[in-house]
Symmetry: none
């Protein structure tokens, strides 16, 4: 036995810290598959490799698990997007493209994409979560993209469109993508070629936004 190594055993240290994360991971999987209400704590526990009681060592309730998942999986990505937007060297169009690219990598290739779907699907029953998500994610994201658009308009890169609306038009296909991926594709929807969609969307938007320089 190795009772003394407790502190120094790296496996132990990892496990101890890892437990809540494993639970969150399992929970995200379950929530993504079945939604909040339809997810059973038994199932989360099973996938996390613990028992139901253990969940309550780390979280106060099913709802707290949900909140924690949302916070943990989402907030950690906000800063990254903000970093992209803060880039001053590239053209506004390139920044937009980079943001799309990030979105595609993070939200479409990982299970995190389920979070926005969850918010839309069941946020109604969790007003607090909705508000939190609205403030911490959506409004922050809108501000970011709005900033890039304004910058582009000021620099003469873009036409003077209604920025608030344009932001939504730009984001909409990204939202559409994750909903499609999570809700329709598994049930017979045609496979979505995200790269192609974003490429086309980017083209449309840029052509739509761009001042026709030589026109006139």
């Amino acid at each position: 036995m190795k009772p003394k190594e407790k502190e120094s055993d790296p496996r132990w240290q990892r496990r101890k810290e890892a437990r809540p994360d494993e639970i969150r991971k399992a929970a995200l999987d379950c929530f993504a598959e079945s939604g909040f209400a339809a997810t059973r704590l038994d199932e989360i526990a099973r996938r996390a490799g613990v028992t139901k009681g253990t969940l309550y060592l780390y979280f106060q309730s099913k709802e707290e698990i949900f909140k924690s998942v949302v916070r943990e999986e989402v907030v950690r990505n906000i800063a990254r997007v903000e970093a992209i937007a803060a880039d001053g060297e590239h053209s506004s169009a390139e920044i937009l493209r980079e943001m799309f690219s990030f979105w595609a990598r993070i939200f479409l290739k990982t299970r995190v994409g389920a979070v926005p779907k969850l918010i839309l699907a069941e946020g109604g029953n969790f007003p607090e979560i909705s508000r939190f998500y609205l403030e911490e994610v959506i409004e922050r994201g809108f501000r970011l993209i709005g900033g890039v658009l304004r910058r582009g308009i000021e620099r003469g890169e873009f036409r003077a469109v209604n920025v608030d609306d344009a932001v939504k038009c730009i984001i909409a296909p990204a939202i559409f993508s994750i909903l499609w991926k999570h809700s329709l594709e598994p049930h017979g929807g045609a496979k979505l070629d995200i790269e192609s969609l974003f490429q086309t969307h980017f083209e449309l938007i840029i052509h739509g936004l761009a001042r026709a320089p030589e026109s006139k």
Copy 2:
């Protein structure tokens, strides 16, 4: 008592036919507000002005009510959109604009808008419904818009974009609108000005689609 007049009372006859529709109406309201899982049959019955037992006279289960609501609310709108698309006189851009207008009128101003939200949010738990909706509504809608786009490209009105992708880009803000209206606006999201959003979207898309006629 007047048990005998039941049959001959015209009001009764109308009611008799109307029952399932009233239930569907009540159910749609409930589903739209709370989602499928969180909706109680008690509540549907209450709003329909009947008792819980009565629901089972017309529907086999909660799930069947859900399916029926989706089917019923959907089929009645398909033909209308197709009629608009079939219009051969106007320019492709005008047809698109007209379709947006229809969407705004029907899906955003009535409870029907809840249906797409329901599909996206909880379709995962009803593969059959998802498949039905996919085939009967989404693919049909895609084909419609895709047709208009191809027509526009053939006529030289639009640039030669990837039609499949462009369809999604065009539809996405409409989807976004109903999700926002149903899931975020009631919980603190800024009020969405649909008219303005669609106007901006249309502008962007048309500029994005349009061949710069004088360029070159």
Copy 3:
């Protein structure tokens, strides 16, 4: 079958009204035997001849069942005691004796005696119940007996003792009796001869222990 007799079938009518009462009866038995916390809803349901779900047709929660039992079993006896006390013809001593007699009949011969025990045992976890019982039963009872004592003192029947204290001294053996009956007698305590105890108590209270030295 007799589908038409629903209204006129006396058994049906009785059953319909009787359900909550049957549940209360079963609940009182369970509570008396095991206390509030240790009583299982399954057990109450079983004894009432219904299922667990049925309990919730008539009561909102386990606590509400408890409250209802207390109210129903206790309040209905208050008026009777008050009627006894209102008697103006008999001597104060006779009224006291009559009250003892009532107590013995009701609280010691029926399961109702468990109620005070429950209050004492678990009232701490249900402050609302404690307060209710205190106001509706205890203070009302104290006032009644206090009234008789004051009447006796005014009439010269009794010595001028501290009425508030005397009330408690008079009631105490009655309380003691039900606690003994419910908590000790079933586990080996000697069988309590209530009649004899009350007789002795009455004697003691009226005449005291001390031999009146100069009398004789």
Copy 4:
């Protein structure tokens, strides 16, 4: 770290012996406040300054803790009461008064008073404890008081009453006091003036209510 000094540290040695007592003390507090069922081992451990696991070093189960508390808190007081009763010099009335005084000091001013309440309230679920308490405390106490009464009657100090009943009448207000203090006073019951109550009780018992009509 100082693992080696453990053995030699006098404070530690004391602690070592004190552990079970600290646990019992904490447990008594909890049981007194919430009753047996509603008391959590977590809470006992917290108040005893140890962890839940430690409880199982000293006691086999929650029930064993309960039993131990009752036994420990009770035996230490038996001899004292017997010493009082053994007094041969004073009058029987004075001995009774002294016993009341002891009761008031010990059972009403310290946490020990909770023990009788626990027995009465939850003894039903612990037949073994009830029997133990009955034999070791109650019957012994009854014998003591009964002895004093018999002595008083033989000496001509008291009237010839039924001794078995009289013992209960004498003890009842003492029981009543601790029940009131523990169960009703904390939830809105009027504050009990024990000194006054016992004084009145003593008076009543010794002299009774009735004015001795022929006395002088």
